[in-house]
Symmetry: C2
Subunit: 376 residues, 2 copies
């Protein structure tokens, strides 16, 4: 049986629009606001699953499109589902592949029925429909499925974005039909670019349907940051208060703090993992890039106030040496630190919300984050 | 004070020429026979130091030549030494860079004083002398220093190898002078190619000097395997029974089993780590290469009789998926398994020696290792 909206998600504390929630999935209970590490191809790059659990993560993001191409959802199903395949005991949410209609748009064509793509791996033809995408996510056995949406590029004309909004709504209805009795949760994705009227139309269309949660897509795709936050603010108010709100593809620590203030609950972004592989660490006093010569002899950890394994074990000088030497441990150590930083940030935000001190917490932290590394 | 030979190394069990020993260094006690994972640039590729400790390793190999070029031994010394730099609580042995006179021979020239090289990183001139190499290893603060040797190529004429043997002996004497009161251990390296008379000459020259242990170099450089084992057998008998014997750069599990039977105590090789990054796993029933299509749907672990994290968590099918997807976790998981396999192999060998059943253990295991993966 599908859990009712109330059982599935409960708001447990509020501080203005910001809220703490408890999201109950088949595989774990997720305290929100929560950040989802990105493991598109069934692995959060450079991390082992038990390390993600130990950091405190309970919900990861994978990508149904990537997994359909390789290794194929039927293979994963036969091997016991995606959780078992990855060795991950927590919960999983899969993006549908709608975003790939944008990021791989040179290889994609969209019509009423769905999306036709050329595989970026071997050039073979792939067709994604709302139905095939749900069927794939059922085979993967994920906790939370995302509907197929159409994500227009930025900039795009109001007519182009309006067509995408209406198509996304029709696809959302077909997705609900395809879901049938599955007890997996399903979230819809609000589109509408940076056009307030279209965002309102999309939110109205989708919230009229019995989804378990609502995501905001089509942001952080090139629009100016103020427009991103204005749009996120507008949509948040239009989404049902009792259901989880997921701001997709966002973002920096500052973006997360701003979006939590708007009432969002879930976030994903490649920044902590990708930047780590690029030698860049998020710290409580700003970004530390170990590529910089200033760290060549620095005996300090990346972040003095961090208790992660990387900060307990390695100096900035050693991390810089690993990075310059092309050692895999550089990617590992920086990724583990950055994901520890993001997980701790969410935990601190939850405490601040529960204490009714979220705005002061956010302002204090945001100031520190932009100050840079003072002592150097 | 320098520990006496007896305190530093004690043979605790014998089974024919094979023996179990206890090597006491400043940072750890190492049960021998022992395999040393290779961390040339102050990192065992894809592994974190606490993972190596958890697998059971107590002694790692690093490379003084590589660390002199980057980050520089003085920087490491100022940051508290190589153990602290790497976050490694066990013992460290550094190779001197003598092997690089061979592997980078196009960039190197050798004379009585030492080796002149062009850095493979930036082309800058580097000079290595017996004295500079010891000074570098003193700055690194390693537990066991290796002397600078000259490792001739294979094949090489008897005259060429004879010159290298005598040069290596003169350098060994200079190394002892340079060591002075350091309480770090120092091992000499027997050269002589595949010429029995030259191996005897080298062993006689070096064992006449007060080294803490003796290594055999210049093997596994292209000579046929029977010649490698014959030479290793010859030299082992010429080395003092009460001191550790280190067969450098060897090798496969079968090679290790054969060399243990000859009385060797220490080994290092890039095979378990390099092959792992190439998708290849050592298992108790032979090599499993996850590149092979036969493993695409295989739900079994790499090795059913292995208790490592990789085998407890991941199927061959998932590891193959990670490898094909270029995920860092593929290198991590396969490396951790291979190093677990090598560490367990050494531990099993020690038990077999202590039980007086080494030859039957070795034959049984060697047969299984070449049988391949039977059930597939």
């Amino acid at each position: 049986m599908e859990p009712s909206g109330k059982e599935m998600f409960a708001v447990v504390a509020r501080d203005g629009p910001a809220r703490c929630g408890r999201l109950t999935t088949r595989h774990s209970i997720v305290d929100t606001p929560a950040f989802l590490p990105v493991g598109s191809k069934a692995s959060v790059k450079a991390m082992a699953p038990d390390e993600l659990w130990a950091l405190g993560y309970r919900l990861l993001l994978a990508n149904a499109y990537h997994l359909t191409l390789r290794p194929g959802e039927e293979l994963v199903r036969k091997l016991g589902g995606l959780h078992r395949f990855m060795g991950w005991r927590g919960a999983l949410l899969t993006d549908s592949g709608g975003y790939q209609t944008l990021s791989l748009s040179k290889l994609a064509s969209v019509d009423e029925n769905g999306v036709r793509l050329r595989s970026h791996i071997d050039g073979r033809k792939v067709e994604m429909t709302p139905e095939s995408v749900i069927s794939g996510q059922r085979a993967l056995g994920v906790d939370i499925m995302m509907v197929l949406d159409e994500c227009p590029p930025y900039p795009a004309s109001v007519d182009r974005v309006a067509r995408s909004v209406d198509l996304t709504a029709r696809w959302a209805e077909r997705s609900l039909q395809a879901k049938r009795q599955s007890d997996q949760l399903m979230f819809a994705i609000v589109q509408g670019g940076v056009y307030p009227e279209l965002r309102k139309r999309s939110a109205a269309q989708l919230t009229a349907l019995p989804f378990d949660g609502f995501a905001v897509g089509g942001l952080s795709v090139g629009e100016p940051k103020p427009q991103m936050l204005e749009t996120a603010a507008l949509v948040s108010e239009l989404l049902p208060a009792g259901q989880p709100r997921y701001l997709m593809g966002v973002g920096t620590p500052q973006d997360l703090l701003a979006a939590i203030a708007l009432g969002y609950d879930l976030f994903d972004c490649v920044l902590p993992t990708r930047n780590a592989r690029n030698g860049s660490a998020f710290t409580s006093s700003g970004v530390v890039s170990v590529k910089q010569a200033r760290y060549a002899r620095d005996p300090m950890p990346l972040d003095e106030s961090c208790a992660c394994r990387t900060c307990r074990t390695f100096s900035r000088a050693y991390l810089r040496h690993l990075y310059l030497s092309g050692e895999i441990l550089a990617a590992r150590a920086l990724t583990e630190h950055n994901l520890s930083f993001y997980c701790t940030l969410m935990s601190q935000a939850r405490i601040a919300i529960a204490s009714g001190t979220y705005e002061i917490f956010r302002r204090t932290l945001a100031e520190r984050l932009v100050e840079g590394v003072k002592e150097h």
